[in-house]
């Protein structure tokens, strides 16, 4: 039995590629996804620079650069190829957007380093982390430096005279103003607060942009914000205020939808969002922390593998037992 002779096999003598099926591929890629998220994050980033001027630019730059540099160094130490896939930029940017504008820059950098080195790379890098790096980074510096992490200034753009004021979620602020004006300020972002938490409208715009492009699933933010609104009403709180203030918008659209740390399944995403909503309201109303979104999402991150486990879709044709 002779094999087909090799020499007359290939008419042109070119080597043909042998790769497994399928032989076509969609436009989806990790880089595309990441850069679209960065694009969506430009809405709140622009708002933060508009409202907090130079402070915002410095904090954002420090945080992003520290994140990228840390990732680069760790890949160097691990002798792995560094890919500028944008995930480190997202982590740095998201972290910066949860920080107060006047935070000492070295603290912002420390948060970024912790987020990338411990929360992400220690587990093997992108795709392997259990907790959202930006949120864990924020929780880390919140716990370490409670004082500088709760200095809030009124939005004054590039004007030099920053005035400290109460954060929207602190009790003092709850007394002021007539409701409609407060809502408008929260919506537009004309309030004190973390860099990216100010303008609910622009965060919503970024989130809807990602939902339309199918980068994120609408279920998580809807379940998150919906649970918050319903629970606020049930518990006799101002629902509009609870939804618009603090980090809920950025948390619901950009943090809770983080692929790596949220459940895979659709049912799981709803449970994840709803669970985060319940925890947020519990921490806001009864907890000692000023804001609950960050911890609520981190706690749900820990539960995500379990949620995934119990919400696997029923395969085609499988009869219920």
């Amino acid at each position: 039995m002779a094999k087909i002779k090799k020499d007359n096999l290939n008419v042109t003598g070119e080597e043909m590629l042998n790769s497994p099926a399928p032989h076509i591929h969609s436009k989806w890629s990790v880089k595309r996804t990441m850069y679209l998220v960065i694009l969506a994050l430009m809405f709140p980033t622009a708002a933060s620079i508009y409202f907090f001027g130079l402070n915002a630019i410095l904090v954002i730059l420090t945080s992003v650069l520290a994140a990228v540099a840390t990732e680069y160094l760790i890949k160097l130490v691990r002798k792995k190829k560094f890919v500028m896939d944008g995930s480190a930029v997202i982590t740095g940017l998201l972290l910066a957007l949860t920080l107060p504008p006047t935070l000492p820059l070295w603290i912002a950098a420390l948060g970024s380093i912790f987020a990338i080195a411990i929360v992400k790379e220690a587990f093997g890098g992108l795709g392997h982390n259990i907790f959202n790096p930006a949120l864990a980074g924020r929780a880390f510096i919140q716990l370490s430096f409670p004082a500088p992490m709760s200095v809030w200034i009124a939005p004054s753009g590039f004007a030099p005279d920053a005035v400290t004021s109460a954060s929207p979620l602190s009790d003092a602020f709850k007394q002021i103003g007539d409701n409609f004006e407060l809502y408008m300020d929260l919506l537009l972002g004309n309030t004190s607060g973390s860099l990216g938490e100010t303008s609910a409208l622009l965060l919503l715009a970024g989130g809807i942009f990602l939902i339309i492009l199918r980068i994120i699933d609408w279920r998580t933010p809807l379940a998150f914000i919906g649970t918050m609104a319903i629970l606020s009403l049930v518990l006799g709180q101002d629902a509009v205020y609870q939804v618009l203030s603090g980090g809920l918008m950025i948390g619901a659209f950009f943090m809770a939808t983080d692929y790596v740390t949220a459940p895979l399944t659709r049912t799981g995403k709803i449970i994840f969002g709803a669970g985060a909503g319940v925890l947020t309201i519990v921490i806001r109303l009864w907890g000692g922390m000023p804001e609950g979104v960050c911890y609520a999402i981190l706690l749900m991150n820990a539960a995500a593998p379990l949620i995934d486990r119990y919400t696997q879709p029923k395969p085609y044709g499988l009869k219920k037992k």
């Binding site: 000492p104 070295w106 603290i107 420390l110 411990i118 220690a122 716990l143 370490s144 430096f145």
Partner: protein
């Protein structure tokens, strides 16, 4: 004497009770936020393990096999109670800082483990060497962990009220997380990873 040296060295490096065996972690992590507490705990640990190893090794032929674990626990618990009373009487600040973790030495897997695996089967001098080696290994690990936790979590090092030095920026803004349980897990994890990375610890 070579047997003594071997058993002694084993406890410090090759099977360091904390980093390699990952035993008796609850006192290790709970008391390492300051150097003072770590040293206090190491002292208590050394007293209990040396005394109980000695007694158990001496009595090893008398203890009936079937109740040996119970007897070990009672012997160890007795020594722990004695150490507790000593600490309470002579160094009350450290006694109250250590809290329930001092009592928890009684169910320390390491002490019980050495009693069961070594002291009850070996002659007195070897058991003593084993206990000494384990104590020093335990002490070194505790000091290492607490050094980093105190340095970062307090921004400087203070031993028994004497301030040794303070870090420039962190002195004013210490990373207080390192004083909390999070810091304990973090430092422990990173230290074990570091030892694995430089090859001191092999995969178990």
């Amino acid at each position: 004497m070579s047997g003594f040296a071997k058993e002694f060295k084993k406890g410090i490096v090759i099977s360091n009770p904390v980093f390699v065996l990952a035993l008796s972690l609850c006192p290790v992590l709970a008391v390492t936020n300051t150097l003072d507490k770590a040293i206090g705990m190491s002292g208590a640990f050394a007293l209990v393990i040396i005394a109980s190893n000695l007694i158990i090794s001496l009595m090893r032929k008398m203890i009936p096999d079937i109740v040996r674990i119970l007897v070990f626990i009672i012997i160890i618990a007795t020594f722990v109670s004695i150490v507790e009373m000593l600490f309470q009487a002579y160094i009350p600040t450290i006694y109250s800082a250590l809290g329930i973790y001092l009592s928890l030495l009684a169910v320390n897997c390491l002490i019980l483990g050495r009693a069961e695996a070594f002291a009850s089967k070996n002659k007195v001098s070897d058991s003593l060497a084993d206990a000494l080696g384990m104590s020093i290994g335990f002490c070194l690990a505790l000091i290492l962990i607490s050094f980093f936790r105190e340095l970062l979590g307090k921004g400087g090092i203070t031993i028994f009220g004497n301030e040794l030095f303070t870090l420039p920026v962190l002195g004013d803004h210490p990373i207080s997380v390192f004083g909390m349980s999070i810091g304990a897990f973090l430092v422990m994890g990173l230290l074990v990873a570091f030892f694995k990375w430089i090859g001191v610890i092999k995969d178990v």
